[in-house]
Symmetry: C2
């Protein structure tokens, strides 16, 4: 087992780890002997590095131990639990697992801001559901039992379609550059969980490919995943709307249509992983009932597996919620965690810091 | 520009290049100074390596030059055509571009063998189309204008569904281990194009991510892509049938259903690439009209781009076919190649060898 680099405030290190420049690697291939020499020289440094804590923002406890023990077991050559590199697939939910999702899913806030922007062309939305509820910030009506999913799809349809994927990416990037969280007054990309950035980097340093598996829109998440998490666009899996190829003004392009193509949530997550990765993960991280089937499919497959539920228990530094919350609803998956021996992370006690800015000594605003 | 490793008979080297063990990389990160030292030591070797021909199985000529010039232009720092690593995406069709597709698509041969295996349970297939045509090897009827696609889908439906993805992968692997090409009497995985294996390795050595974008079934291609091409399962894009999550006998699993989910051919190829990669490629390789839109979308986007059509012109060492062939039909894309300045590879004159076995001095059987 090799210890990962120490993690700074942002995920810059983890990005470098994912996509180390290939020419540099190649220079080593050119001269095997020198490479072997370098390896032998560096081995003692590597042994030293193991003493560095791979998860410095985690308090010692069952959760931290279970993650480290898992990585050590599947990467130690000769271990009965050893897993070859090409099978080291780890999947991570995004909303509530890697970044904040309260008081409302970030993509929904984006969609509502887009609704407001487009409102002059659609004044009828003021009196028409689900647009009215969205514009009024009436999340209870918006996410009402059994209608939340359809309402969100309707709003995504009118705000996320009608452009090329490149244009949509730019719209998201522009929004992320200016929008701020109502309580933390910071860009959403700063409201990612420092302990989880460390997990991402730790897994990658140990030969894992890390995939984001989001119920959110695949192209929304791709707009920031590389810079924020060190996860390249092709390792992001998510929900999508219909995209078609066409020629317009003599040029080929893709165009986004307001119909659902794929819902990457609940039982859709294992299907999305199969479509994109073609392998069953050996580790999966989630925080809500939307992650239930992903964790079941990952862990109930024989062999050494890791399932992790991030439980939001810290109302002071972040939010405390589970089975009574419409956003990030966690009920069945918490029951399943007992049955399947998943690791349940108690954010309040397991995490020394929640957000990267706390490492600079900046405090969270009071709830 | 860094020269790639020399290519042996199989694609083992390219595989190593794609997935260089991360712990080894990491050891270098641990000690930057030693790394810098090693870099300085190795620089002269790297310069030497540039003299090594990256495409040794290609004859000197326009095609080879255009490929090398493109890679040099987009990887040279400070060049007006420089492309950052994360945008270096290259896509490759499979049938007829990376491996043999005559006298019939390999996956179709597999499907027909499966039909024969399942025939005792479905004796009605003997008199029922398209099964009868498939069982009789009557490819003309099978691929008849306007019906080929539907016929293939029907046959894929009954031969590729009704099991888990893991079970299907094993069925394909077992078949590939025993099936032999009718003319070459070798396993199909030996009938890959040596010059294209070199292109894959050359691109990867220069920081490209290489994706297979096949009209064939995504899980059929994944069963051999890693070992044969050094392309991991998550970098394979292809057509797919519906897969659903379910619990059976108390365990979660995915199950394959006989309905089309996605057709990754023609205008579907750019859509499939967007779904999986989330970026427009800067280089694309194909050989038939099914690759037309992928090459247009790749090259007609401004900036330095590479489009390549592999033209099958060698009836002695392989097959010669284009617009009159039902398999690998090439007509519109050959016209478009002129308009869009794509590189057209003449297999007869541009390739020193076609298959890896020729490098061991073994001759091709006569046509």
């Amino acid at each position: 087992m090799i210890a990962p680099p120490r993690i700074g405030v942002a995920a810059v290190h983890s990005k470098a780890s994912e996509s180390m420049p290939r020419p540099d690697r190649h220079k080593l291939t050119v001269s095997c002997l020198l490479g072997l020499f370098a390896f032998l020289c560096l081995a003692p440094f590597s042994a030293m590095a193991q003493a560095v804590d791979p998860l410095p923002s985690w308090n010692d406890g069952k959760a931290k131990q279970s993650i480290i023990k898992f990585v050590e077991d599947v990467t130690r050559e000769g271990s009965p639990d050893f897993v070859p590199k090409e099978q080291r697939i780890a999947t991570f939910d995004n909303d509530g697992t890697l970044w904040i999702e309260q008081p409302m899913y970030v993509q929904m806030v984006f969609a509502i801001d887009r609704l407001r922007e487009l409102l002059p062309m659609h004044p009828e939305w003021r009196d028409q559901q689900p647009f009215k509820a969205a514009l009024d910030g009436d999340f209870k009506t918006l996410l009402k039992d059994g209608q939340g999913s359809r309402n969100l799809q309707t709003i995504v349809g009118v705000t996320h379609a009608g452009m090329t994927p490149e244009e949509f990416e730019q719209i998201v990037k522009n929004w992320l550059a200016t929008a701020k969280h109502p309580r933390f007054h910071r860009p959403y990309t700063e409201l990612v969980y420092q302990p989880m950035l460390e997990v991402l980097a730790y897994f990658r340093a140990n030969g894992f490919k890390t995939f984001i598996v989001s119920g959110g829109g695949i192209e929304f998440v791709r707009a920031f995943a590389d810079q924020t998490y060190g996860v390249p666009t092709d390792q992001v899996i998510g929900s999508s709307i219909v995209t078609k190829f066409e020629r317009r003004d003599g040029l080929p392009r893709l165009f986004r249509f307001p119909d659902v193509n794929f819902v990457d949530d609940g039982p859709g997550k294992p299907v999305g992983i199969e479509q994109h990765v073609g392998r069953r993960p050996i580790a999966a991280f989630g925080n809500s009932d939307g992650d239930l089937q992903m964790l079941q499919w990952t862990t109930e497959s024989g062999g050494r597996r890791l399932g992790v539920i991030v439980h939001h228990t810290d109302a002071v530094r972040e939010y405390a919620y589970d089975k009574d919350s419409l956003v990030g609803h966690l009920d069945l998956a918490l029951e399943a965690a007992k049955l399947d021996s998943w690791t349940v992370v108690d954010m309040k006690t397991d995490w020394k810091v929640i957000f990267p800015f706390e490492m600079k000594g900046e405090a969270s605003p009071k709830p």
